[in-house]
Symmetry: C2
Subunit: 321 residues, 2 copies
Amino acid sequence: MQSFELLSQKFSLHFDKLSLPKQPATLYEPDEYFLKMGGKRIRPVLCLMGNELVDEIKPDAWHVATAIELFHNFTLIHDDIMDNAPLRRGIASLHAKYGVNTAILAGDVMLVTAYDHINKIDHSYLHKILHLFNRAAREVCEGQQIDMDFERSESVSFDDYLHMIGQKTSVLLAASLKMGAILGGAGERNQNLLYEFGKKLGLAFQVQDDYLDAFGDPGKFGKQVGGDILANKKTFLLIRAMEAANESGKKELKSLLRSDDPGKVNKVLQIFRDSKVDEWALQLKNKFLDGAMDHLEDIAVISKRKEPLKELAHFLVIREF
Amino acid sequence: MQSFELLSQKFSLHFDKLSLPKQPATLYEPDEYFLKMGGKRIRPVLCLMGNELVDEIKPDAWHVATAIELFHNFTLIHDDIMDNAPLRRGIASLHAKYGVNTAILAGDVMLVTAYDHINKIDHSYLHKILHLFNRAAREVCEGQQIDMDFERSESVSFDDYLHMIGQKTSVLLAASLKMGAILGGAGERNQNLLYEFGKKLGLAFQVQDDYLDAFGDPGKFGKQVGGDILANKKTFLLIRAMEAANESGKKELKSLLRSDDPGKVNKVLQIFRDSKVDEWALQLKNKFLDGAMDHLEDIAVISKRKEPLKELAHFLVIREF
């Protein structure tokens, strides 16, 4: 079994060799530009690790991992348009550089390319993998729509936010693991346990993401600290603060959300601290992580094979960037 | 064998029963709205007719026809955003009614839904059908990008325009026919002849489309006559006129393309008539139609089975709406 780091390196080498058509260059150069931005390649590596949990990595797992990473990048291209995000990893987002119309189409053709890679696998697996891939793809779209709907809602409940994150983030991690496990020959029970592990891991991952945005070390965290607060984004922290803050805190929070106060980030962070949202978030993250680990524990393979997934899970939820 | 009209009615009944998920309604209601606009359903019926050319229509052909129509509608939703089109079939386009962000996502999830329907077919056909479907989908995206690139070019050659129309319009007609033929059990030679028939038919169809925009009967043609001229769209007619007009005509045409002259449409139409672009277009259409018919003739099935396709081809290229 190989560590996340090693598989991530191997996958990056593999993925960088991907060759898109050359013409029309006005369509494919933007896609090349976007893919060259890099990334942690977490999802495709989860697919490879899902396979390696039960057996040596099959060529089909590389095809599906490639499809997953293409799909993930398709969603990022379209999400950046919807979020009106000028930057991605510190450089111009695709639509900022090439225009919205090309970004729509460059995303579309990247999604079609993902299906091309799915179609490279052994025919006996095609129906099942396509089914899982489509379900995850649909749920990610649904999650993104719900997230956009939240921008217009005054208040969002914890359960609704949890459901949204489940769709937008967790299902793709879960499906990546499960597709890998299927291709590795895992039994149905193990496949499903791995899926549930991925879902919980995704939730823990998102809590950490929301936490870092508010309390991350500006020197280590790649993005602007407080970005979610400035964008009035619903996060685990904000939703909790709206419930847990005292009356004056709630009132101040509501009025800050509507304001352009230059001290907005610090004032909101103070309310978060006063209502102990930071501690609560760390507990919540650990709850999801423990839940994930319970599912992993239940999987019927020798525990040595689970080590890379355990390490990855801890890395994903303790990371400071 | 059944006529286009009958199959179109049957397909519409089938397609109208399609049920999308209910939640989130903010995502699926827009898709329902768009699909309810209706349409001629040409592409899915071509799939059914491709099947019926060789054998009784199989259940799989209905699944693929549904996927094709969903794919086509996905392209229309995204194209309307790119073209900044406020209307589709006389009512608000999806993005005009629900916003661009939802329109991007509603298109995305419709494309994923198309793949769900592809995945319903017999597993033995899945790889081949998915391959053809993906190729057509990719080429349609490429054609749309090239079409957008043309908007920024001063002049476009006839060959480049032909290539663009081939990608944007013809390949989906061709692939629809071919997928139907495969599911009906046609041999490879017949499949390919039918594909070439579809490609030529698509070109004839587009010539007619461009012709009607300029010379259609305003009472019969659903859209505003001269719409392409007002939008400075490259068409078969404009490209021909730039080649065939006399020097003063070319000069006037170039200056009209840059102007907002209220008499622009009539002046451009006059140049088209003076340089006999109308007659040329009818000849070009017939050339493509004859080419299509030659391929159909070559297909090794009894000619009676070809009648519905012949009728449809003539209908598509003599239509006045």
